[in-house]
Symmetry: C2
Subunit: 252 residues, 2 copies
Amino acid sequence: MPDTTADKQRSMLNEARCQTCSLSSLCLPLALEFPDMDQFDAIIRRRTPLKKGEALFLQDVPFTSLYAVRSGSLKQVTTEGCGEDQLTNFYLPSELVGLDGIDEARYPGSVIALETTTVCEIPFDRLDSLSQEIPELRGQLFRTMSKELRDDRRMMRLLSRKTADQRLASFLVSLSERFRRRGYSPYSFRLSMSRADIGNYLGLAVETVSRILNRFQRQTLVAVSGREVHILDLDSLSRVADEQGVDSPCAH
Amino acid sequence: MPDTTADKQRSMLNEARCQTCSLSSLCLPLALEFPDMDQFDAIIRRRTPLKKGEALFLQDVPFTSLYAVRSGSLKQVTTEGCGEDQLTNFYLPSELVGLDGIDEARYPGSVIALETTTVCEIPFDRLDSLSQEIPELRGQLFRTMSKELRDDRRMMRLLSRKTADQRLASFLVSLSERFRRRGYSPYSFRLSMSRADIGNYLGLAVETVSRILNRFQRQTLVAVSGREVHILDLDSLSRVADEQGVDSPCAH
DNA sequence: CGGCTTCTTGATCTCGATCAATCAGCGTGG
DNA sequence: CCACGCTGATTGATCGAGATCAAGAAGCCG
């Protein structure tokens, strides 16, 4: 028994090294060569895995670190005043959590594990210093934040112009792409979030999410069984995701 | 005549120095002391003023620089596929334009002047190098991007949960705050954007914007005449902006 | 003053929220 | 092993906020 624990410990620490991490081509240190990678690796802190429903941190807690998702997934939830929560983001492996906390020195939302999840903690003051010495790291940090800004703008477009159908389709296509990039099947995956989470994120009622998934299924765009999703016709789904009004056939 | 031009030129260049700029306490170099400020100032490039409707840059053009607004205002518009434009941001003096272009090395939307507008061009490669030498500058850049992320999340909440009334109220309150911070009256200002722009930004039809502004006026929350706005009851307006459902009286 | 665009106002219609039952999954304890 | 209860998901019926359609009114500039 102690043997197993030690093994597990060793394997975890090994996994936890950036050099051997399977996500290194997607993660923050992606632009680093070996000497720099070692330096970066040295500031990373291991965390014990989060169980489903556990919080990585709570809203308004002082900002100290960024977190790179290693496995599993999380959601970011902001509670404003006494109103309902707003789910502002889902995080998948290799993605960087906490960037929106830098400015006010506290996290603007709670981040909750949707399943068993492991993360790498990156103390921000150390990262900032290191980004002074390693221009590639600094550049990667700027690019990561910039990309998140771009994604946010896309989300605003989704929320302000798209129909419920287009939102669901966009959501599925986006998940599919993100899984593909991470080496998983873009056609078959398991949703780690509930229908309520999806609805909250997309600005739709749970019932609407359910109904539309059902319709997509009848249209043989997808096969959905509980949280298991099979995408049957990614092209059509993509077309639904950003189709225009029926009478604007785009350029011809 | 040449004398006047020379005067104007000199005065513009003088104005254009960060050290003497009235926005220095809000703008990017806000954390810098004098020797560093000079270095920063040295990489800034002057631009001739943009006329109303002129583009600072167009969508998909290669990213080279950030721009700090000196006077006037701009809107950022993204055209996706063949669909309608999405207005994703308004920029006021001291705000930084172009941060979402870093990642893909091109600007993800066109930025258009809403009135006569002057900006400071900040070549990004120079800024990046300088941010290596000046930690305060780097920190300010991180904070600025982080703040924009937070603002985006707030906007998502607005778009996915708020009613048309709440959106308009939030918009007016937010403008009021931004003007106050810049030393202008938070109660009286001129909208530089059209109703159509406001509607596009808030995810509402022009007609709805018009109707609700009218209703706010009947409720003596504001007095609106064309683009001239007087806020008569900022408290009530703020309350409208983030009131909950009628039957959740918040904490008591 | 006429020809624009922008803004306002009114009438109607529609998408998706809301309300209201089920239904399915699933861990818990008898 | 199965009844029980709980949470999450589905399905149906109704309703309403805001979009859309359709005129006008008011600026604005040559």
